[in-house]
């Protein structure tokens, strides 16, 4: 289960037959642990939200749902290109894999720019980290997610580096990186629902 499957010629058939863990199981352990920590942050948010619903509703109304939707769509696209990258690399189509990895970086950058603009907009409206409870949670959750996104760029850097030269291309590292990137995506999916939509 922990065997690195680098440059395996019949890698494509892997999917059809045996079960396998994508990437290092160690990264999955990390993902599960971080997911639990984020779960606790979400629960804290929900509980405090139910304690002062009016305050949260009024503050939430200042956010633009459409920006949130666009950001979610962009991250989903980045996950899509990352998944395509893994499958391409597994099949030995490394040029295609590299292109997909670079697209993932591009979509990540788009999300980053959108987020910064959104923060700037909210701050210019007069809301900051300590304005009220809702905005504390808003900046905290989007902020800690943003930090994970930045780390994601380092991870993507490793993936691109691996794909660049024929001497490397460790399938295990690429899949490990993909696992991390998808985590950035699914955490955002939840954060978006909780901050922008939940009423």
């Amino acid at each position: 289960m922990t065997d690195p499957v680098a440059k395996e010629p019949m890698a494509e058939n892997r999917e059809k037959s045996a079960e396998f863990v994508p990437g290092q199981p160690d990264m999955w352990a990390f993902v599960m642990f971080e997911a639990l920590v984020f779960a606790s942050y979400f629960v804290v948010y929900m509980i405090f939200r139910t304690r002062s619903p009016e305050l949260y509703l009024q503050s939430q109304a200042r956010l633009d749902l459409r920006i949130g939707v666009v950001e979610t769509l962009v991250l989903l696209m980045s996950s899509w290109s990352m998944a395509r990258c893994v499958k391409a690399s597994r099949a030995g189509a490394f040029r295609s894999a590299l292109t997909n990895a670079l697209f993932t970086v591009l979509f990540g950058v788009v999300f980053l720019v959108a987020k910064v603009f959104e923060w700037a907009r909210v701050i210019r409206m007069g809301f900051g980290l300590s304005t009220n409870e809702f905005f504390s949670h808003y900046f905290f959750l989007t902020g800690i997610h943003f930090l994970h996104l930045l780390i994601g760029f380092i991870v993507l850097g490793v993936v691109v580096y691996q794909l660049w030269s024929p001497g490397r291309r460790s399938q295990e590292l690429i899949e490990t990186g993909a696992t991390y990137w998808h985590t950035v995506d699914f955490l955002w999916v939840l954060i978006f629902a909780l901050l922008y939509v939940v009423r």
Partner: protein, 96 residues
């Protein structure tokens, strides 16, 4: 790359994006009700999000092909989040 896998990923992505667009409808209720808590909006928002998360787990992160333990862990987390979020919402609203 195998065209079959390509097509599957494309379909998955389209479904995820479609669900995301549904939020535009779920999230923007008519102005009269905008500033009132709504159990329906909240529940559907959370459930839709968790559907997306599970799809990401199974299709993008490939838990479909993973050993049983990993499948159970990820599904278990989705269930845990559902219970915790919906639970804290409904209990919180009731206790208020």
């Amino acid at each position: 790359m195998n065209a079959r896998f390509e097509k599957r990923l494309l379909v998955v992505w389209l479904i995820l994006s479609a669900i995301t667009l549904v939020y535009l409808w779920v999230g923007s209720v008519d102005p009269a009700r905008t500033l009132r808590p709504s159990a329906v909006v909240t529940s559907s928002a959370i459930v839709l999000a968790l559907i997306k998360v599970r799809v990401i787990f199974r299709e993008f992160m490939e838990t479909r092909h993973a050993p049983v333990l990993l499948r159970r862990l990820t599904d278990g987390w989705v269930l845990l989040i559902a219970v915790c979020l919906l639970g804290s919402y409904f209990v919180g609203m009731a206790v208020r």
